[in-house]
Symmetry: C2
Subunit: 221 residues, 2 copies
Amino acid sequence: MRQWGLPQPPADSPMPSSSDVSPLTVNRLSVYLRCLRRLGEEGIERVSSQQLAQRFQLSATQIRKDLARFGEFGIRGVGYDVPSLRARLEVLLGLGRLHPTVIVGAGNIGTALARFLGAGGARFAIVGLFDKDPERVGQEIAGLRVRPSHELAAVVRREQVEIGILAVPAAAAQENCDALVAAGARSILNFAPVRLAVVPEVRVKTVDLLISLEELGFFLG
Amino acid sequence: MRQWGLPQPPADSPMPSSSDVSPLTVNRLSVYLRCLRRLGEEGIERVSSQQLAQRFQLSATQIRKDLARFGEFGIRGVGYDVPSLRARLEVLLGLGRLHPTVIVGAGNIGTALARFLGAGGARFAIVGLFDKDPERVGQEIAGLRVRPSHELAAVVRREQVEIGILAVPAAAAQENCDALVAAGARSILNFAPVRLAVVPEVRVKTVDLLISLEELGFFLG
DNA sequence: GATTGTGAATAGATTCACAGCT
DNA sequence: AGCTGTGAATCTATTCACAATC
């Protein structure tokens, strides 16, 4: 009988390098991880793609395809082991280690994020919270002292920051993005309503609230 | 010479009903609108798909395809008229009229949204901000008095609310979603990290910060 | 008997290449 | 000459259907 937990690469095809996996797939992996955590909390140890799909409104085939892309995670005729699959997804998603992260902009959104990420068991370590406004500098938010923006580059370099979260007004987004990238950040999570220009090695993910609302607006007619 | 601004349906194909347009396309329309507003502010009156694409890192062909889906918006050999195209996109995206909207949850994210939407020229009228916590009820945020959650259904019904924004903890999301839908909301913008179950007529858009971060984490390896 | 993993089939989205206006 | 609008071609993603496995 085969054991759980031993990474088992797929028969012949090579492990896909992260750059040839689509963001759509990655998002789904993230969703699956959520679902597995939930099942884990409920003490459920085994689950089939069918059950996962029904419970969380997903597609069973797609779950299997997505997972099979990265190895043989399940056992035929049986299903998936919840704890071990969860652990493997966490590693896959880079959650095995802490990612040093900074938040630029201590306004409403920046504050919300600092509290949200500071609290939970998130694997993203906030090592700096910055703002340009002297009023805000020095304030304490979620256990972090707000630092002046001119210290940004130094902190990013010193702490080997990987992810920069931009929660600044649209007009300031590109310049702060440039500063982050110049100092070594490799990923940007952008809440400003602008399309950022970056070199191709840097990955940008923009979360635009107005665009989300406008999408809903369209379908309301 | 043809005039700008007169809606001109495509030659033979019928105007697509909103339900057979993909959310991907709608998001891009929203992006185009952003870009046009920006150009408008700069006093630019005419633009070609090529120019738009270069300036905002989009695909010229895709811009044309997307726009052509809804009518003949440009003039061959010339390009697009910025103000009129902007106006037409606004109508298309349902921004011609105000959408009554409520925010459920007056924590960090709810507050950030209330301020953000209360301020700008957004076409989404926040007609209510709700929270369960008696501490928060009665507080004033962005000119709105926080109301107790038990008033939610009545307000949604009375104000004909179309969009409900869920900024509550994961555990409370589904029940509040159900309340919104039962009272008549047709679209939900969900910030809670759960997959909501709804009847098919209701459109849900989930914005999940952790999933966005995990996507970046994956590509960091 | 049940369920995974996967090649083949389908559906969907993007890009190409050019006809058709201005 | 320049640019839009669009059918055809390509690329990508999802679903089907079933062989392999437990």
